[in-house]
Symmetry: C2
Subunit: 106 residues, 2 copies
């Protein structure tokens, strides 16, 4: 994950790419299969896969003249770690502090 995670989030911010990622949850697929199942043209699929690969979301395994793309676990783990820094948001402590300050002001 880059310093601010923006590359990963940018890769996932595109609807077509999000659909690819979701599709690959069930296992590796070739470019042609991805394009077919998502009803997109092959060049678009290749382009999106390239972006996903550069973001580390996906990796390739070449086999004959097919290329099987699969999800990598690292970006998801890194996202978990990143989220951990925000967990206290819903531990109410934060809200209570704000309520406290709000009362002090009156």
């Amino acid at each position: 994950m880059d310093e601010e995670n923006t590359t990963l989030f940018a890769a996932l911010a595109e609807p077509s790419r999000m659909r690819i990622v979701s599709l690959l949850r069930s296992g590796p697929l070739s470019v042609g299969e991805i394009a077919e199942r998502l009803e997109m043209r092959q060049p678009q699929a290749s382009k999106h896969l390239k972006v996903l690969q550069q973001a580390g979301v996906v990796e390739v395994r070449a086999e004959a003249n097919r290329r099987h793309y699969r999800l990598r676990s690292e970006p998801f783990q890194e996202m978990e770690n990143w989220l951990a820094g925000y967990q206290r948001l819903w531990n109410e402590r934060f809200d209570r502090l704000d309520d406290y300050l709000r009362n002090e002001e009156e």
Copy 2:
């Protein structure tokens, strides 16, 4: 979170917005404070905060002529839920299935 989460990810994909989100972890801040601490101009801060607000990442509380922005917990919780659908990626089951298929092919 919208159907494919892309609005949330798009909001977080912009470096300046990511810095704002990170800054707000320590508590609500006014627009001026955000702009000052992140060394950006006030109009840019306002614009980014608007995007974050529309994505549900942030909420406002007006006080006099200041507006205090604070993180909402929901998008982070929703991201946790979304990530849960990918947890099995690093439970090795997925890798083993792939190894199995790889051997079968030889």
